[in-house]
Amino acid sequence: MRFRVWPRSLAARTALVLIAGLVVVQIAGLGIHASDRIEVLRLAQARALAIRIAGIYRTVVLTFPENRQTVVDELRHGSDLDVQVSDAPPITDLPRMPPIGQSLWRVNLNLSGVPPPQHWRGVEIFGGPRSRQIVIGLRMPDGEWLNVRAPLGLVRPWHSPAYLAAFLLMTIAAAGLTLWAVRRLTKPVRTLAAAAEALGRDVNSPPLPENGPSEVATAAAAFNTMAARIRRFVQDRTELLTAIGHDLRTPITRLKLRAEFVEDDEQRAKMLADVEELEAMVSATLAFGRDARTTEPVVPLDLAELLRTVLDEAGDAHPDVAAMLHYDGPAHMTVRARPLGLKRAFANLVTNAVNYGGCARVTLQPPSDSGTLVIEVEDEGPGIAPGELDRVFEPFHRGEPSRSRETGGVGLGLPIARNILRAHGGDVTLANRPAGGVKVTVTLPA
């Protein structure tokens, strides 16, 4: 797997942006703090050094010229300062200090407590922090020069390790808090996604709680309104179908009665066949409308026997394919389900196999470790075009027109079967068999 720098999830992205920002701010803060501290340390360094140098100057000035060399030797002993008395300003390869730096040293020398009568007659300053040393030449009242060479120690802004540790700890804590807060803040987005997913599966899934931050509450309310509209729409359609189905029963009954008075046997048979087809459509429509709010109680039933009965009935209805219907599985298996609903679901699947595939093999597998029953309904027909596979479960979708003519369905067989099986906590999927034909896989909780 490739490591992705830009994560996929909103929470991770937000956290990444926030933490990156935090790190930048921390680094900048640290930088500002360090440069500030360096400045202060340099100032302190300059001041301390200036006081020392002024002290040396005073000592040397107050000494008789003939004794000065001895005093200087004495001062140099055991010190990091190189003090010399000369009749000329210092000779060094260090560059002259720039005026801004010089004024700092001059101010410090002036403040160092040397009395005014001995005010500085001449000051030459070379070097600076960059060259890590400084050379200062001070002209004494009698024209001799006191030249001092002093090292400038490296200024360390991070002298304390605890400081860095605290800083790191603070950053980590802030990052942790950021992660937590971001996860919390993006939770409504995940909830919304889950709710949308649930709505897709079941239009009657519970509404979202409309609380939390105002944007989230607004989104939840909008989502609930949308769900209610969809529910209303589905309900309207279902009620419409049911109403049409109910209203059609009377004219169909009349037609069936009238057909009995047709003297021509052939015409009567054809008429009755037409009416049967019409009735089958109404029956499917009603079943589709009803399944959405099934009220049939769940009872223990013998699933194996139910499957065999479905095959028997399919064989009775199509005697020409009766020999092509097979059941494979245990002789009995008790499950808890809705008998009429489940029978209709499997009858629809077997009828499809018979109508499109000319045969049906139903296989019942005993429950697996996960507690799921698998029932397969296979045929050896032409199969389903790959593009159609995901559309066959759409209500009123009917394969190719040439096929639906002879089967006369309304395209509700699979949607009804799926509604029923899902209401049982199971599902149904369709796939083409490698050997040709369709394999319908039904799962049911054992």
């Binding site: 009377t250 009954t253 009995e260 008075f261 079943a287 139910l306 009775d316 008790t334």
Partner: protein
Amino acid sequence: MESAICNGDMEPAPHILVVDDDREIRDLLARFLVEKHQMRVTAVRDAREARRAFANGHYHLVVLDLMLPGESGIDLARWLRGQSDIPIVMLTAMGEETDRIIGLELGADDYVSKPFNPRELLARIRAVLRRAGDTVERRSEANNRNMRFAGWTLEPARRRLLNPDGAEVALTGGEYDLLVALVDRANRVLTRDMLLDLLRGRQAGPFDRAIDVAISRLRRKLEDDGRNAQLIKTVRGGGYVLAATVERA
């Protein structure tokens, strides 16, 4: 042909009371039963008229639509049961199982769901009339009570069979009718002709083979070994008998 079997020892023309709110269906059904099948029919449109007709005439059977305007068909069925043992065939709405179960529990004898096939309705009417005329079999108030035999339970009100573990075993309409007939007349021989008559209107195809097929499926469902059947025995000379004690509860 078949009318000879059904109406042989009954009065020549059974009188049917049809209760349905659709005038056309009433008229067509009356014509169908009267002209084609030599029955007498009185057709009324609602419960009020049905009561009046029932009080003023003698009927052998009521065909009752459960979806009536005003007083419901269920209420009328309850009232009829309170008055007499008259056989009732209900017309139920497709898919309205609750109505059907309530009706059967009230003591209606049979049902067809609307839109019904007239011939199936006719077959039901004849089967119910024949049972009602069969004085030995005519149950008093024992209508539609559950029947237990050899561990199995048959629930007529719900038209279902429960195995000894209490799990429902699916039956086709024909298998159910056949099993009820066998259990109703347990330990007595049912001729193939009687069974054939039961299946008519329920099933398409050649009936005589249908009997054998239905019996073999019933044996499979009752876990009765076909070669050495103990529960549904084949009687030499063409007939079947259910060999079991039946308890009604």
